[in-house]
């Protein structure tokens, strides 16, 4: 397993990443590689910098005034903080699903078609195809195929979140970032999304933040444990949970703090 990881070129390579919100430092010297077509879980107590780290990968932090970054983040060998990076194109390649479902107040169809449309697809036939394909990938097609014109905001929370996943997939990203995608959902919707993450791994590289350690154990190949802005431990999920290398990791996963 370790050897395999060396052979495949990483999809994401983070080196010595520091991040500051104004004066306040939120990430300290984080380095980690993420392999292609894998699921990586980010765990740690709340406020430890998981979301902040995740949002450096698609440069969503650019939208927050006063954020400063040092270090390197490469996707497929290209530094995404280089001057010649087109941030919109970067975000097309790195999709994101948020903590609370946030569908647009538009129809189900228009939600999924939004991304392809802004990236220049106008053909009705092509859009129909993308919408169906994305909704199937998000395991939502059968539930909504007869009411694509209905408002997305009328769906249940779990359906809305799967719609948001479909919407993210519709622009055909390489990497999908998920920030606690199930924390607002009931157990049944949660397990649906967990299954989905397993399936999506075939085609996408997934980084998922979760505060639920069982979830990390269930869905991920590798797990990264953050504490106070530092990456404490990063290892195969099985190893990290059964045989943590760091005392702090052990304390956290055994529930001694957090």
């Amino acid at each position: 397993m370790a050897e395999q990881a060396v052979q495949t070129k990483p999809a994401i390579r983070v080196e010595n990443l520091d991040l500051y919100y104004g004066e306040k430092q939120a990430l300290y010297n984080v380095s980690m590689d993420v392999a292609e077509n894998s699921v990586t879980a980010l765990i740690g107590p709340s406020g430890c910098g998981k979301s902040t780290f995740l949002r450096t990968l698609n440069r969503m932090n650019d939208l927050i005034p006063g954020v400063r970054i040092e270090g390197n983040i490469e996707l497929y060998g290209k530094n995404i903080y280089d001057r010649d990076i087109d941030v919109e194109m970067l975000r097309k390649e790195v999709g994101m699903v948020f903590q609370a479902p946030n569908p647009f107040p538009k129809s189900i169809y228009d939600n999924v078609a939004y991304g392809p449309r802004i990236h220049g697809i106008t053909s009705k036939k092509k859009l129909d195809e993308i919408v169906e394909k994305s909704l199937r990938q998000a395991a939502l097609w059968d539930e909504v195929k007869d009411r694509l014109k209905d408002r997305a905001t009328g769906l249940s929370g779990g359906q809305q979140q799967r719609l948001c996943i479909a919407r993210a997939l519709a622009v055909e990203p390489e990497i999908v970032l998920m920030d606690e995608p199930t924390s607002a959902l009931d157990p049944i919707s949660t397990s649906k999304i967990e299954e989905l993450v397993q399936e999506l791994k075939e085609k996408y590289t997934i980084v998922i933040v979760t505060h639920n350690m069982q979830q990390a154990a269930r869905v991920s190949d590798k797990t990264a444990f953050f504490l106070n802005g530092e990456l404490i431990e990063y290892d195969d999920t099985n190893t990290l949970f059964s045989n943590p290398g760091n005392k702090k990791t052990e304390d956290y996963i055994t529930g001694r703090f957090g």
């Binding site: 097309k92 449309r117 905001t153 919407r167």
Partner: protein, 311 residues
């Protein structure tokens, strides 16, 4: 038998003090204040209806509403009471104002809500609201002494000193702050998460504004347009000063015209005799105006209720 406990409970017994008396009076006092404004409004509407009804005893309703000549202030048998020229004058100014104010107001709202930094917004928003408080007579003189000469000096050398064009431009300018401010309110109440989702898919700022935020805030934005238009319909000073006093059924903005409001000012400040048909015509025109603005306000309410977004 009295115990220490029951003596203590006496403290909670009701007593008539100035505090409780005051508490009893206050709501009644407030009710009276509320009633005064309600009764005043009812009184106005009542007078309007009564005088309008008297007017229609002399001038048939159909003649009023379909007539194309308005010469109410002429003497004797030259008087004609066809309200269409006043309506067309009002609509001409209103349409021109809407053409100016809707695009500019919406653009200002988009800038404030989606582009401006916090610090800029915190300065500009109050400035807009101050602009909305400038007395309209100031705008009127601005139209007459600045905009009209400017237009005559450039694009419309043949235009007269009184014209619908400069009045509508300036009425438009006057309602920009209102539209911008109300639209901005609607746009900034669109949840952050929706914007983030759009950015995360690779939208540019303009795409987020035009394809996500504006559609999501559309009910509030359209309501702001309607309220702005309603203001334009009822605007009085600017049109009285700059648009002229010649009721004319025309859609040429360079013409001198007269609006319903401007007629009412002219008639009320001229020397018409109390109780004459011309006098009553002020009320009939006022009623017509009232119907117009009432419809607009109801429309605004309907739109913002009916199409309210649930996020």
């Amino acid at each position: 038998m009295k115990t220490a406990g029951s003596v203590g409970m006496d403290r909670f017994r009701k007593q008539r003090t100035w505090r409780t008396t005051w508490e009893g009076i206050i709501p009644k006092l407030l009710l009276v204040c509320a009633l005064v404004s309600v009764l005043t409004t009812l009184g106005i509407v009542f007078t309007l209806i009564v005088e309008t009804a008297r007017f229609f005893e002399e001038i048939p309703f159909v003649q009023f509403i379909t007539g194309t000549e308005w010469t109410a202030l002429f003497s004797g048998n030259q008087q004609k009471f066809g309200v269409l020229p006043l309506i067309s004058g009002t609509l001409l100014v209103t349409a021109g104002a809407a053409l100016v104010a809707i695009p500019l107001g919406l653009a200002a709202a988009i800038y404030l809500s989606e582009y401006a930094h916090d610090r800029v917004r915190r300065v500009l928003k109050p400035v807009l609201e101050i602009l909305a408080g400038i007395p309209t007579v100031v705008y009127g003189f601005f139209a007459f002494t600045f905009v009209t000469p400017l237009l005559r000096g450039t694009f419309f050398p043949d235009m007269g000193p009184f014209n619908a064009l400069s009045a509508s431009i300036v009425v438009g300018i006057m309602i920009i702050p209102m539209i911008a401010s109300l639209s901005e309110d609607a746009m900034s109440s669109v949840p952050r998460g929706i914007r983030e989702a759009a950015y995360a898919m690779g939208s540019t700022r303009l795409e987020v504004a035009l394809r996500v935020v504006v559609p999501a805030a559309l009910s509030g934005i359209i309501a702001s347009f309607v309220l702005g238009i309603s203001r334009a319909i009822g605007e009085t000073m600017i049109v009285t000063i700059a648009a002229g006093a010649t009721p004319k059924l025309t859609f040429d903005p360079t013409d001198s015209i007269q609006t319903m409001t401007a007629y009412m000012v002219q008639a009320a400040s001229g020397d018409i005799s109390f109780g004459s048909t011309a006098y009553k015509s002020i009320y009939a025109v006022g009623m017509t105006l009232f119907v117009f603005t009432m419809i607009m306000n109801l429309l605004a309410q309907y739109i913002s209720r009916r199409f309210k977004e649930e996020y």
